[in-house]
Amino acid sequence: MLDVIKIGDLNLQNPIITASGTCGFGRELAEFYALAELGGLSTKGLTYSSRLGNSGERLLETPSGLMNSIGLQNPGVQAFLDMEWPWLKQQETEILVNLGGGHEDEYIAGVELLESSSIKAVELNISCPNVKTGGMAYGMTAKSTAHIVNVIRKRFSKTLIVKLSPNGEAVSELAKAAESEGADAISLVNTFQALAVSVRERKAVFANVTAGLSGAAIYPVALRMVRDAAQAVDIPVIGGGGVMSGEDALAMIMVGAHAVQLGTAVLLDPLAPLRIIAEMNQYASEHKLSSWQEIRKII
């Protein structure tokens, strides 16, 4: 058995975390397997108030990729705490509560509710590309990242993971900004801002014009960015972006990730996390690893 991975107060039994927006609040995956099989689960992105999400097209498959414009559809933090958390906290896996917001006050209101609850960790989403006033603005520059992390850190005493945008300044600078303001860990990448046009209709496919690109298509770029971030900070990095296989996930660890998020892979197949964990364990066994540390940040 390999070592437990520590990220703040979280103890992950394995490096695989299902990414926000690809696993709801866990109930659907629990129909297929016990969530204890996962290292962790990051909830659907929450905002203080409920959101209906975007209208119009929400999905478009591209070569080895998926564009989405869901728009942070969620029931709101309080409804999550009332309706989902009592069940979710009983699952034997680590839960990252993903929190987004439109503006600073909304983030503050959300995190204050979470601070006074029994949740252990927040993944602060400052990188959603699909809502107009949607947090991504905070993730675009090191200065604004530092500001929002500072604001949240003052109000949240538990494990704070900051999810960085791949759409702003160099991720190394964003990562350093989050670390300097007291983040316990960072995660990256969120989806890449992308565009699709319907030539037949002579208009953008998505009502917001742009949408977020995920899937295997983004993996090599995400891997480079995860390395950039891991080289820049000493806090743990959770890597992700188009990971589809155990090899992809192992490479994320080799460039410096402590844990690995799976997003589109989970949409492609709810059992993908188990397959990827099995593939990683097989590698660890074949190479007689006793700790993921042995292959971490070797590139």
């Binding site: 297929f32 929400r58 999905l59 998926l66 899937g215 492609l268």
Partner: protein, 259 residues
């Protein structure tokens, strides 16, 4: 990526096409058998996600269950709409596919009622399994109304299952022209089951008498097919929305809102 398909850690099972019949230049009638020898399962109105074998990096496509045959095989009626459905149309016998399902909530079968089935275009597909099960489990022989844009297809599958059988086409020549929603007098029924394009379902929804139960199966683009991505939402009466994949694809008309 291909060698990953050998792992059993997948919700998709391998299946082989054992029969393919091109019904029109865009509709194909496929029969698939699971490679593990197990029977396909499901209920009328449920669907499967299907994609070519070896494409673990590709989303499945949601296709309604048209028939669950007694020999365990699965019948699908597929209309060419994009690349995967075109590949299904062109698929050869013995080609291998990956199938995930059954998914979603299907029709709720009710016996002893005056029953109509209304299908539009490829939306006729789930009504076939429904008509078979209404007869075998509820001794109901419904009136069946099928509407097509162009020439009708698969009508011979439905006619033996219908009490009254009505086929109409918008542009075709081989049967009565017009909209199928105009041929069906909803007042004559206690329950109406329907599947088809939004226009047809919207027309039925608007015309629905208060005392007629209506179960509508909606078509939506999907990514996951099992409820997590929120890509296939449907507007509901409470001002919110539901997921076509996991809460549907069949909804009680009373739940829905058409703008």
């Amino acid at each position: 990526m291909c060698n990953q398909d050998n792992t059993p850690l997948s919700a998709y099972v391998e299946a082989r096409i054992i029969e393919t019949i091109k019904l029109t230049d865009e509709i194909v009638d496929l029969t698939l058998r699971r490679e593990d020898g197990k029977p396909f399962a499901g209920k009328p109105g449920q669907f499967v996600m299907i994609k070519p074998q070896g494409r673990t990096d590709m989303l499945g496509r949601p296709i309604s269950i048209a028939r669950l045959n007694s020999d365990g095989t699965l019948r699908l009626l597929v209309r060419q709409a994009g690349k995967i459905s075109k590949a299904l149309y062109d698929a050869q016998c013995n080609s291998h596919w990956l199938v995930f399902g059954p998914l979603g909530h299907g029709f709720e079968l009710k016996a002893g009622l005056r029953t109509a089935l209304v299908g539009g275009g490829i939306g006729i597909a789930p009504l076939l399994e429904l008509a078979v099960k209404l007869q075998s489990t509820g001794q109901v022989k419904p009136d069946i109304f099928l509407g097509y844009r162009d020439e009708p297809y698969a009508t011979e599958l439905f006619s033996p299952l219908a009490h009254e059988f009505t086929v109409m086409t918008e542009h075709g020549a081989s049967c009565k022209q017009g909209l199928i929603t105009e041929a069906c007098n909803l007042e004559n029924y206690d329950i109406v089951y329907a599947c088809g394009p939004d226009g047809l379902l919207q027309a039925l929804w608007r015309q629905r008498p208060d005392n007629v139960e209506m179960q509508l199966s909606l078509e939506r683009k999907m990514a996951c097919g099992y409820g997590v991505c929120l890509g296939c939402i449907v507007a509901t009466q409470d001002g919110g929305n539901k997921r076509a994949c996991a809460d549907g694809p069949v909804f009680d008309a009373k739940e829905l809102v058409y703008a």
